[in-house]
Amino acid sequence: MKRRSRASAGNRAAVARLRKLGELVYEQIERGEYPIVRIPDRSVGNIIYDEKLGQYILGPKRFVRTTKNVKHLRAFAQLMWLAYFSKLLSSSHKTSTLRDVFYSAQAYNVEFEDQDESDERITELEALLGMAREEFNVYPEERSSIFGRLTIEYNIPGYEGRKLDLTSHPDGVMIGPALTTADFVETDAEMVIAIEKGGLFTRFIEEKVHDRFKAVLINTAGQAPRATRYLLRRLRNELNLPVYVLTDGDPWGMHIAMVIISGSANAAHLTQLNVPDASWIGVWATDITKYKLPFDKLTDVDIKRLRELSSDPRYSGDPWSSQIDAFLKHRRKSEQEAFAKYGLTYIVDKYLPDKLGR
């Protein structure tokens, strides 16, 4: 099967939306009006949990950035430059890191006080355009990788039409702009397994999990970057592959899994970075006692985090709420590597089949 990537379409859409923003402001000035833009409000009060989508989205509120208010002027100018710069990148098929954006501003007599201010303005542009920054070619530094039964075809300049079997390199293939924008050409995979840690990713490759379970393996390297979450969503939607998430057994692991499933509050303004029906298969709190895993005590920070999670609507169903209860009851946490207590292959030979229902 073959499908066209949304990423390429997104690129042309980004250029169009950026042009439209420029026209809006230009016309206002020409009419002798103080230019204004209405940006979706990303504050807590406007973040709503959408039951149907299974994620947080922004509500209808907007805030008005107006050049009538001198406090908004600098931010308005920064936003306009960012739109200009993003259009430049998208048009020329070049990418830029968040850090590059920060420094590039100086060439245009626009200054950001620090990286955070630059990043904030980029997020505002995302909200204004309804697009992820990756769609207008601004990328953070990546660190995730993929391996498995999938052949991709590149879309980036110089590589159009070229293919890569994602089992070609047994250390894993980097997830970056090229892979994020590639088309999926061929697969006999039956599932996707997203793994929190690179060590376990390597273990799975050595134990041939991709063959034994017909799986595409993804190393999220901690919390999954947005490009990785975008890729996971594409694998689910375009190839109809179930997604399983395997994390450490602690509140942070639950969060990593939940962000893949429901998205993050920071990106509530975006609706294409999650996999609503992905499954968190472990390490669960109940697994720690069931498999008698080596454990650490939960810290106060862990416990506080669990109490926060228990009031988050995303964590109200199973297995989330019962695992929160189990974490709070036993006050234990454990890592994926803890299964090595039973030998290096136990996690693949025994735990994974158990969790996948075989």
């Binding site: 420029g22 402001v25 230009y26 103080y34 200009y84």
Partner: protein, 507 residues
């Protein structure tokens, strides 16, 4: 083993630490302090603008370097001391005019005598005191203290024309360490000038350098007057003494005549509360009734607050004048609280908060005064620091590095000092509460000042911001829209600027 009485002078001579004469550094400071305080009291009692001359000279009879013999001289233009009282005033401990219920700097009736005591103990030299009450003739004494009997020893008498001088002069030679005491002496003089901005002080140091602190106002506060105790918290022994001294009249009259702020109505309501017949003769009260009366005085909550007229405050004008003279701040706010009482003693808290200027260093600097006396030692044990430590100054927009001066002045017929050296004030709840309320008011005004200051800085910046960013916005919109020419944005600038300036001024 026999039992015998010793005199107060021998007691305090043996226990000099208790009065602050712990070492040559403190001894020099306290000697000077005690003499200056007597002089200022004397001037203020007569509503005389003080003119003080103070000198410290090296006495070559002693060691060649510190600690060594210093001759202290303090001269004032006060009321003077009558010739007949001069020997006892300086030669006896527990002698003076400070033992009635009246506000004054001197409290324990022993400062000057302790200085003379210390002088003869450490240098062997007698001291010289002189005074004139008329401006025509003066009386002088070369004297020591008979420590065993708490009596003056007069070595020689002097007498002569005063040529218009009225006041007192004291000269004593003590073992002191001026080098180490200098900073405290200078602080004491500067802060005395702050608390008494109507005084002029001339000071000559051992090197002959002269410093003059000229008065900055020509008006003095009303002097304190002798007062009756406030009824709240008066104890049984005081009641007995009052009854012992009572001539005639019933309990109603007794109450109105012996306490301040007690008229017939208050007296009647109180006696009803205490369960005592108003028509009784006070002398007929038995022990149970007396006990009940004292208990009622402790617990009755409806007495009027003390009368401020008996206390001598600085007031806003003089307090601010003193603060500006000492600190020259960019901001100063003074607060004067209404009278309160503890154990029958009325008290008033005056406070000020100063900000900025050339004299204040970053951080909080505390200036403590009690009846106009600067308090320089044991700052961290004092009630004022306790109050400050419990306040969150950030809520008043004060940052850690801001240069803030905090001035607290406790005025009372009795200051609750913890030591005879009058180094710090005990944290009595009533006093603590008033200091907190005073400082809170002053810091609120500082907060308003800082907010306003911040806003005005903002206005100036807005004009620059506008022209710079509006041109960038126009340029990028042109690029984004793929147009050929810059949009007309010049027309937009002035309106925004005008509006911001308006906003800032209203803020």
């Amino acid at each position: 083993m026999g039992f015998n009485e010793i005199s107060p002078s021998e007691f305090f001579y043996r226990n000099r630490d208790l009065a602050g004469f712990t070492n040559p550094v403190r001894a020099l400071y306290f000697s000077l302090k005690e003499l200056i305080e007597n002089s200022l009291d004397s001037c203020e009692s007569g509503e005389i603008l003080p003119e003080l001359f103070i000198s410290i000279e090296v006495d070559d009879d002693g060691p060649r370097e510190d600690p060594r013999f210093y001759r202290l001289t303090v001269q004032d233009n006060g009321m003077g001391v009558p010739a007949g009282s001069l020997p006892d005033a300086f030669g006896r401990i527990f002698y003076g005019n400070k033992f009635r219920l009246k506000q004054s700097r001197g409290v324990f009736g022993m400062g000057a005598t302790m200085t003379l005591l210390y002088a003869q103990a450490t240098t062997g030299k007698p001291s010289f005191v002189a005074s004139s009450t008329t401006g025509r003739r003066y009386h002088g004494l070369l004297m020591k203290v008979d420590i065993e009997r708490n009596r003056p020893i007069i070595i020689r008498k002097y007498e002569g024309k005063a040529y218009g001088w009225r006041g007192t002069l004291v000269r004593a030679t003590i073992l002191g360490d001026y080098q180490k005491a200098e900073s405290k002496v200078m602080s004491y003089l500067e802060q005395t000038a702050m608390a008494a901005p109507y005084a002029s002080i001339t000071f000559r140091d051992p090197q002959g350098h002269q410093m003059r602190l000229e008065r900055v106002v020509d008006r003095m506060p009303k002097p304190p007057r002798e007062t009756l105790p406030h009824p709240s918290g008066v104890d049984i022994e005081t009641l007995r003494k009052m009854i012992r001294q009572w001539r005639s009249g019933d309990m109603l009259k007794f109450m109105t005549k012996n306490f301040q702020r007690v008229g017939p109505k208050t007296a009647e309501a109180f006696l009803r509360y205490a369960g005592i017949d108003p028509s009784l003769n006070p002398k007929s009260l038995g022990d149970p009734e007396l006990t009940r009366l004292a208990a009622a005085l402790r617990s009755y909550g409806n007495f009027l607050p003390p009368d401020a007229n008996y206390l001598s405050t600085l007031g806003h004008e003089l307090l601010e004048a003193g603060v500006r003279r000492l600190l020259n701040p960019e901001f100063c706010r003074t607060v004067a609280r209404r009278p309160q009482a503890y154990e029958g003693h009325p008290f008033i808290i005056e406070a000020a908060v100063a900000y900025g200027g050339p004299k204040l260093k970053p951080g909080i600097t505390v200036f403590r005064f009690a009846n106009r006396i600067p308090l320089l030692y044991d700052e961290s044990s004092d009630v004022t620091w306790k109050v400050l430590n419990s306040m969150d100054l950030r809520s008043y927009r004060v940052r850690q590095e801001d240069p803030v001066g905090v001035i607290v002045h406790v005025i009372s017929t009795r200051i609750p000092y913890k030591t005879i050296g009058k180094e710090y004030i005990a944290d009595r709840p009533e006093v603590e509460k008033e200091i907190r309320l005073a400082l809170r008011d002053a810091f609120r005004e500082l907060r308003n000042y800082l907010s306003r200051k911040e806003r005005m800085v903002g206005v100036a910046r807005r004009a620059n911001v506008y022209s710079k960013y509006m041109s960038l916005i126009a340029k990028f919109s042109m690029e984004l829209a793929e147009r050929d020419r810059m949009p007309k944005y010049d027309i937009l600038i002035p309106k925004g600027m005008e509006q911001d300036i308006e906003e800032a001024q209203q803020g």
